[in-house]
Symmetry: C2
Subunit: 599 residues, 2 copies
């Protein structure tokens, strides 16, 4: 698949956009006219810059309202196109996107429309340029790609073909399969979008996403495009309010990742296939200063004990049953921060290869003699993800620490790590989700919106039916320039089958619970028909409660945060509850904010 991106998908000036696209590795770009019009670079200079960067200018767009029932105005359109053709040639480009008309004077007769487009194609051909006609979903007369293709067929001009754009096809609910039968497909644009119930024009102009970030079936769309014989670039045209203001270099990498992942979904096997991670190996917390004793006290109160110390020091392994927490004191700059996720993987090097093909930055830790080499990469938010195989065993890097005589096992037991939550920068939420989907094979769940004291928090869990690995992404309110600081706290949730015993042990060992408002438990008792003793136990232990429609139950306990960046939760799932207690998150956020140093 040859890859392209429209300059409107990236923030910055035209040279910044070109550099970002080239640096990410795109083969080509579409030049969006306003980016050229606002640039001091002349078209020939843009052509030279693109050539220097090794990126082709595949398309110039858009040419709007190409037809008119008024002959005088139709003549003006030809003059307008002739002037644009001169710009396009100076750019070294040979293809112009022509949108179906949206104005009141749009031609309503297909034969007349074909004749006017044909006349434009004559002018284009004379300049060595071709025209790709696109049916806008809100076109005045032509709004369906099949209609657009019929007009193109009527014109039957070698310089006039069709452009399909997944948004304009799928936003209308149109069947994309007929794309396979188009015989003059000149260009293909792809964009995803969340399935929003709103007018298609503002939906298109503000909410488009990169493939895999939204709700469209783009693999089916792309298979139809491939079946047509089209072998030109597949180009991302993503109008998105956030990407317009995000770092273009980073957006371009996220964009190319989305296209490589789309290629793999279209033709499975394009990327190295790797199974979903089998389970959690560990979570690593980087701690420094006062964070170290605070973190160690927290882990100890939960009954974990220091069971190993790394051969090269400054890194300890804390365990309780299948829960393993690595405490890293090597290079942390924060009191305590969730720094790395260790995943048990069947074929770590195949997964690392897949990740590399998906533009994930691979990192190499220094490996001492006899130590396991763990393929590692950096997720978009900076968290490391490490792929742990069975041979060699990463735990062999740790020298065992004998259990102290006075280390009580403590009541309750953990059955594993239930999930991890990572907090994203405002513009990074969709890209981080795609990363989990494309690289790790997790599936994105529903979006939750949670009212916090300083604004709405959005949350989405990524899970797999084939794995207990669950990762939720959170993102805070719009802007740090308004109230409050950005949402910062990542957390790990341990799983248990007896939360009451865990909490009693934790509190008895001196652990400190996040205070839960009495009003909350009043509300729980009003909403759910609970056994009074059970309800009293929830209240006494500061345990939050949720129940799903099928009667599955969820119990949650939060320890006080070790730092603004890290806290620990313990959860108990009963009867197949599959959620994450989203309805309780506002209680947790408000309680954390109320504590000294809280958000």
């Amino acid at each position: 698949m040859r890859t392209s991106i429209a300059t409107v998908s990236l923030a910055g000036t035209l040279p910044e956009k070109l550099r970002a696209a080239a640096a990410a590795g795109f083969d080509a770009v579409e030049v969006f006219e306003p980016d050229l019009v606002t640039s001091p670079l002349r078209p020939a200079q843009v052509r030279a810059l693109a050539a220097d960067l090794g990126v082709r200018i595949a398309l110039y767009q858009p040419f709007r309202d190409p037809d008119d029932v008024d002959p005088t105005r139709a003549t003006r359109v030809r003059e307008r196109l002739r002037r644009k053709l001169s710009v396009v040639r100076d750019l070294g480009c040979d293809l112009v996107l022509v949108c179906s008309s949206v104005h009141a004077g749009a031609v309503r007769d297909d034969d007349e429309l074909a004749a006017q487009l044909s006349a434009l194609a004559d002018d284009a051909a004379a300049a060595g340029v071709r025209l790709a006609y696109e049916a806008l979903a809100w076109g005045a007369h032509v709004s369906d790609y099949r209609h657009g293709a019929r007009v193109v067929a009527l014109a039957d001009h070698p310089a006039l073909g069709t452009c399909v754009d997944s948004f304009h096809v799928l936003s209308r609910g149109d069947d994309p399969d007929d794309i396979a039968h188009l015989d003059r497909l000149f260009f293909c644009q792809v964009a995803d979008a969340p399935l929003l119930g709103m007018d298609v024009l503002p939906w298109s102009r503000h909410h488009r996403l990169f493939p895999g970030q939204g709700g469209f079936d783009l693999a089916r769309f792309q298979r139809a495009v491939a079946a047509s014989g089209y072998d030109g670039p597949v180009s991302l045209e993503v109008f998105n309010d956030l990407y317009r203001q995000a770092d273009p270099g980073r957006t371009a990498v996220d964009a190319l990742r989305s296209l490589r992942y789309l290629a793999d979904r279209t033709v499975p096997g394009t990327l190295p296939a790797a199974p979903v991670p089998r389970d959690w190996a560990f979570v690593e917390v980087a701690a420094t200063g006062a964070g170290v004793p605070d973190l160690e006290a927290l882990l100890a109160a939960f009954g974990l004990r220091r069971s190993g110390t790394h051969r090269r020091g400054e890194v300890d392994l804390w365990t309780r049953g299948p829960v393993r927490v690595v405490v890293n004191r090597r290079s942390a700059q924060d009191r305590a921060r969730l720094s790395s996720l260790g995943l048990e993987v069947d074929q770590p090097h195949v997964l690392a290869e897949r990740a590399r093909d998906l533009l994930a930055p691979l990192v190499h830790r220094p490996v001492g003699p006899g130590e396991a080499e763990i393929p590692s990469l950096v997720a978009p938010d900076g968290t490391w993800v490490q792929f742990c195989g069975t041979s060699p065993d990463w735990q062999d890097d740790f020298l065992p620490v004998p259990a102290p005589a006075d280390s009580p096992p403590g009541p309750g037991a953990f059955t594993g790590i239930d999930h991890v939550t990572l907090t994203q920068p405002f513009a990074g939420f969709d890209a981080a989700g795609l990363f989990l989907t494309a690289v790790l094979g997790l599936e994105a769940g529903e979006l939750s919106e949670i009212a916090a004291p300083d604004g709405l928090v959005r949350s989405r869990a990524h899970t797999s039916p084939a794995s207990p690995v669950r990762i939720a992404l959170n993102v805070g309110p719009t802007s740090a320039t308004l109230r409050g600081r950005p949402l910062a706290a990542a957390h790990v949730a341990f799983a248990t089958e007896d939360l009451f015993a865990v909490v009693e042990g934790f509190l008895a060992a001196g652990g400190r619970a996040l205070p839960v408002p009495e009003n909350y438990h009043d509300d729980v008792e009003a909403r759910f028909d609970l056994d009074p003793e059970f309800a009293a136990a929830l209240r006494r232990n500061g345990i939050l409660y949720d129940r799903d429609a099928a009667g599955g139950e969820f119990l949650q306990f939060f320890a006080r945060s070790v730092s603004r960046e890290f806290f620990v939760e313990v959860v108990e799932r009963r009867g197949g509850y599959a959620g994450f207690g989203a309805s309780n998150t506002s209680v947790r956020l408000a309680a954390q904010r109320a504590l000294p140093g809280g958000d």
Copy 2:
């Protein structure tokens, strides 16, 4: 009108919300249940706090899904209500909002529904509480307020009445006039909203606005409420993603202003009536350091001359014909910043009284002997607005400066100040617009969205058919934590009838134009059928061009910015052009950003 606000309309914790509402001057609040549930304050403590603050708790809300076809679940609903009634009594509140059901088990038979609501009302009455039943626009069975009122009438229970919410009525396009005939109206909520083409639920949950900020005819709604005999509080229930994260003290003031303005639109004469300002008196620029000579050089290049100096020094008046610019060197902290707008007003003290009733902060400058006292206030963005009458004349405060012998009048002439643009903080855009509408009597125009290199800029002009005063508000992209700095530059546009002469004089006098890309003029020539000589003159002089559908023309010239905060434009309107060249704004923004120190 008794005033109230729902706590969900404000950011922060429940005590912060109560304090903000009380400080602004609201009579009452609605307590939104999640604000209580997440609070460590017990209901009795909230009641005591509200009493201390002198704000009444008028309503507790919402009680959802009050009816159920399943008798067991209907019994559970009664138990849920009984527990909530205990909370409501502890709050010292006697009214609960009950929303029409949205769940699958909603009762579809009106008689049965009335019977179930009546049973709930029995329980409420026993606790000394009344229930206000509200038809949600997306209710499963009851979604129309008239339907809801019919069910209430069927129940015929003294503790069961109706709540109307302008959003739920007007978002559906329902006629509000029948509210006048409701005989058991227990509560009234008002919210405005932009007229968006989207599903009503997300529209309601994210995009509500305070009255006067959106597109609903709330005066008509409110007249119907008044005609019903309702004399309870009128309460703002505004779910808005930005207000959820904005300073609650400030939001509460903006909110109460919106309600006072609504009262005046409902019953004209509630506020002191003042005519729209007659014209611009002056604009004031505060300058310091290098900003002073730069600003003076700019004004001189435009042919303004220093014609007066203030009696107490450090303030100069620069004039050319009807354009008056006050240069204030007294207390500026910026190189150059548009600090004050002087408006010619027929009855300055009446307008000031109206502004004070609308919670505008009035300010008092020290007035020296014999100087004019100018009623002044501070607009939401910090810009001063000064109301200048004819007697005494504010210009008499300036001692005349004799014209230097070598001061050339220069070619071209200004006919006045065309408009001023003020840049707003991200969450302040709608509040600033309402301020201009409510206080100054200007009318809000259409919203423009402009693609700038670092994100979308929104802009809206405020004008009046009765005055040449035009003020546009701009607001930059979402977040300063993403790319770029927030949009900062305010500007003043002078009007002329011969822009070419103005520009030639400006350049000849050493003025520096904002560079306009050649590509822009290529595009203008392609889009418009211009006389080649005229087009060449536009290009040569760096003049931007626009034309409206009726053939009206707009010519714009931008001088290089004096500071990041201030620049000057000169415009020429031909043939009744009424816009502001929004299609050219992206060119201006990109050119300003490209300059050293630019955005």
